[in-house]
Symmetry: C2
Subunit: 209 residues, 2 copies
DNA sequence: ACTTGTTTCCAACATTTGATGGAGAACCAT
DNA sequence: ATGGTTCTCCATCAAATGTTGGAAACAAGT
């Protein structure tokens, strides 16, 4: 039987789905403590008790948002993996950067939510996510940094993290960085992709000396 | 005449200074909305009205924290610049990575605060910071990506941002990433430095083809 | 029409939170 | 000691916030 979250994912027009998506946007902008249940309800155009009826406590809703996001990421990574299967590493990186950047720039709340869960202590801490660990392991294997999903050396994970973070930072920081660079959205996205490739590809493709 | 903040910086044992430092730690952990004035007062061991007496509104205190941090960063960057003056780029990067990593790992709230100001919409938005722009310009010149502080092309700024973000991410994410890598603090710090050098140095030192 | 179950809203609640007024300490120069 | 200034706390306020009970609206089967 599907969980409540899965149902909401499959029926984005249902009340549950609409609340989830509004919550996701808001939590992505302001963080957990920066959003009130009333803000979410107002964004959907409903009373707050309707929100509580569907999702229960604020904390529960927030966790549903994170799980929802993680599922999206998982699918996106799988899509990329299919796209680049068998290609050499520099091409894999290039495609991964392009596709992930496009995705994150069209879902600006996604990268913010990730940053929040990495960096912010929630006053009421929920248990750690193992999902990120899985993503990392998958990427490490895909990049040839580890042979086996179950045995990824710390060094390999660290390198994957460096790549991963570089990408989400530019997406997350758009509102802050773009004015500093005086670029419009399209130009910013292009510069970001180019910069990421400039930074990341040489590290992984250089001939060892 | 020195501003209130400068006085507090110069007298860290004064009440003003103690409040500032407690606030800085807490805002760094939980973000603006995640911290209450009562939490800060409690951390210092004083009544909240004493806090308001010294710093006024929460928002003002928060901005003082950010300004304080920015001053630290500025000094740190200048220190690095002196340290590597005249050295070739790969050495500059190496030293910068080492020194910045050490600094950020011993001031864990610093990188978090930076991430907050880059990524989080505060519900009550204060005006944009120009200080970050200055830091970027300085680094860009120091790295030879621009000839003149006042004319840094977007591409150069983007590259500096990529470097900058990579470093603060690992510091900020320690609580989240370190358990994933199963490393103790020292080992984590070492792996981070190594990874940063692995990622960043080749990009800037390769011979153009 | 009547029952049964689901969904939505109104009203209210107890806490939490940002913020202040005013009374007393503490300090300090005279 | 006295007067003035600076600092600290207690008590309190109004607004915001998380959360719930219960009544109405709605839907669907019989």
């Amino acid at each position: 039987m599907p969980s409540p979250l899965e149902k909401a994912r499959q029926a984005p027009d249902s009340m549950k789905g609409r609340i989830l998506s509004a919550a996701r946007k808001l939590f992505g902008e302001y963080g957990f403590h920066g959003v009130t249940t009333r803000m979410i309800a107002k964004a959907v155009g409903i009373d707050i008790s309707t929100l509580y009826y569907h999702w229960g406590e604020k904390q529960d809703l927030y966790e549903a948002v994170l799980t929802d996001l993680n599922e999206d990421i998982r699918l996106k990574l799988r899509e990329i993996e299919k796209l680049v299967h068998g290609k050499p590493l520099d091409v894999r990186l290039e495609v991964a950067i392009d596709v992930m950047s496009d995705y994150l720039f069209h879902n600006p709340e996604a990268s913010n939510l990730m940053l929040f869960s990495y960096f912010v202590k929630t006053r009421t801490r929920s248990d750690l996510d193992t999902r990120m660990t899985e993503h990392l392991a998958n990427i490490a294997v895909a990049m040839g940094l580890a042979l086996d999903k179950t045995h990824v050396p710390p060094q390999a994970n660290a390198r994957v993290l460096a790549v991963w973070n570089s990408i989400i930072n530019f997406a997350s920081g758009e509102n802050y960085f773009r004015p500093m660079l005086s670029l419009d959205r399209d130009a910013y996205l292009e510069v970001v992709k180019e910069t990421l490739k400039f930074i990341l590809i040489p590290a992984f493709t250089r001939k060892d000396s």
